[in-house]
Symmetry: C2
Subunit: 160 residues, 2 copies
Amino acid sequence: MKSEVRKFQQFIQKQNLLWSTEREIIAEQVFDNHFHFTADELFIQLSQKGNNISRATVYRTLELLEKSSLVSKIQLQSGKHLYEHIFGHQHHDHLICQKCGKMIEFHSTDIEKLQKEISAENDFKMTGHCLKIYGICSDCQKEKQINNQSKQKTKPISRS
Amino acid sequence: MKSEVRKFQQFIQKQNLLWSTEREIIAEQVFDNHFHFTADELFIQLSQKGNNISRATVYRTLELLEKSSLVSKIQLQSGKHLYEHIFGHQHHDHLICQKCGKMIEFHSTDIEKLQKEISAENDFKMTGHCLKIYGICSDCQKEKQINNQSKQKTKPISRS
DNA sequence: TTCATATTGAGACTTGGTCTCAATCTTATT
DNA sequence: AATAAGATTGAGACCAAGTCTCAATATGAA
């Protein structure tokens, strides 16, 4: 059993919940994914490996993983969610490319410090935060120049 | 016609789109709402005023209002969306209370500056950002002390 | 007025996720 | 090992928010 899975097991037991094979299989898969994934992608991965675990259980377990702080849930502008495990590496925020969807991780202790200050000023007990910077990544900025040659003159909005 | 509605009309026309009565009615209502609202709340407000505008049109118009930068869309942790118009007042971020849902607006030029620096470092052309600080507001912190008297000992997770 | 095109309404549909509940599993106790 | 209490599960119904379709209608230019 991976050490992260063991940590999850400890969390489950500390909460007086039961450690099931489903929870173990799901957690193993989560910590195998070294990239962002959606709940449904995870469900499909598990199915393809021959596990007969229901979508409900996948969602339920992701919720527990999130509560255990071993996994974090990222909200996209579209309203969809991605998950990523936190395998020892520190908390981070994201730069998200609006063209290709690429996500670049970053961490700024300066920003975090300012956030704490703002919370304190507002008598607010901060429990978490979410910072996303949207824009166009360097790759897509280059691509744009090519695509621009065929750019439309009229009604760009109704197409986008 | 409110000046914001006129701005929206100008935006629509600049995009070679048509200015319809529905768009005007929706925009008027949006700029009447001096607080956050969901798309559905807006739809209901309009219906109650006797307007027979379909949900699809409300959603479509909100999308245009967002593109015109006169309205911004806020994502909640739950995956739901709120809208708020930007009636001249500057961009701001939010402190969101996880207990009562209250939102406190703030603005930090220091954080914005750091965001720009991070974008530049990553060769990223920033177009926007989204910063939310989650926590418990001062009112709910007080309340908590009362509720705590009846706090549960076992399985807090399965109830929450 | 006419025409080409944009917009609309109604409701079907989609997506992402939650809920229900009987059957099954886990753990503690005998 | 057997039992009992309670937690977990799977299947699929359900839900909410939002999108899509397409015929009917409205808009604006000529």
